[in-house]
Symmetry: C2
Subunit: 186 residues, 2 copies
């Protein structure tokens, strides 16, 4: 049976502490490799599946069936709205990353979060994607994130927590700083 007592914000704080200790004792525990396969389905439509990954020194097979994400464009960008498009998916990745970071770190600090939401907006210019200009960049020029939180801590403490979360957020890091990406035909 689940021990309810050691949970905060739905996060198992004992497991969180154990994970941190395990990494301190053996840095290799922290090495993860996440994997995905994206298949083109026609036009702007694609489907990504996620199953196993490597982490905590072993292959993880906790997913009995694959997790699926669909991507598509809206009609104005020649698609059929079968899914959010790729740059919208980036907003989801960022929102979910900040959500996890905020709530896990709140749990570690014994802050109870009642509600948390993020409104995200990305501004982009399609010229580069359409091959019409090398002056503008293909991706978002700017992303704005606004968050609302209800928790049992003063506003200043929650802001400080969010500042910390921003420093440690994997997706925010990948947006704010360059990532090495290799693309190869097989």
């Amino acid at each position: 049976m689940e021990n309810v007592a050691n949970k905060k914000n739905g996060v198992n704080v004992d497991q969180l502490v154990d994970t941190i200790e395990a990494v301190k004792n053996d840095p290799e525990v922290a090495d993860f490799r996440f994997r995905a396969k994206t298949e083109w389905l026609g036009g702007g439509h694609s489907r990504t599946t996620f199953k196993n990954f490597y982490g905590a020194k072993q292959e993880d097979s906790s997913r009995s069936k694959p997790i699926v994400m669909e991507g598509d464009e809206p009609p104005v960008l020649l698609g059929n709205n079968w899914g959010a498009n790729a740059v919208e998916a980036v907003l989801h990745a960022l929102g979910s990353c900040l959500s996890v970071g905020f709530v896990y770190n709140a749990a570690a600090r014994d802050i109870s979060v009642k509600s948390l939401e993020f409104e995200l907006e990305g501004k982009m210019d399609l010229h580069a994607f359409l091959g019409l200009s090398e002056k503008s960049r293909p991706g978002y020029e700017h992303i704005s994130v606004k968050y609302r939180v209800e928790a049992n801590a003063p506003k200043e403490e929650l802001k400080e927590l969010c500042d910390y979360v921003q420093k440690t957020s994997p997706v925010l890091d990948m947006l704010r700083n360059p990532v090495k990406v290799d693309v190869e035909m097989i």
Copy 2:
């Protein structure tokens, strides 16, 4: 009725040409603002919804109901696998972006794509996310993308097409180059 004759790879080539012409005639047509809202649901679980966005000089309301993406962590990272996690979602965003870019540009070049798939892997070190080291970065150190394509063009031409797609891919640009992200409490 849909005119099948002007489609290539499921892409309406006439609409693609019209879009490019519209942007050439009025650069503001290329200004887009995509939006998302991420709500925390408990523990590592969050839900992002997408509905309207701004583009082609108007609010787009083609989505009669919101598009939804779920995010969660696997049990080893204190979640319940209700969805892919945030860094996996980045792999989806990248795969779907390259898929759209490849297929749309193939259509514009009159190349018929029969199949296309991407295998993506991101390597990360959890030390920074766990607050245990400022030496490693929070995000992926490296992303590897391998793609397989069947199309009626020589391998070299498909590689050249993929090189072009990489230069114009919004998500790849956002990974390889820094993006300005503002985070604000409201």
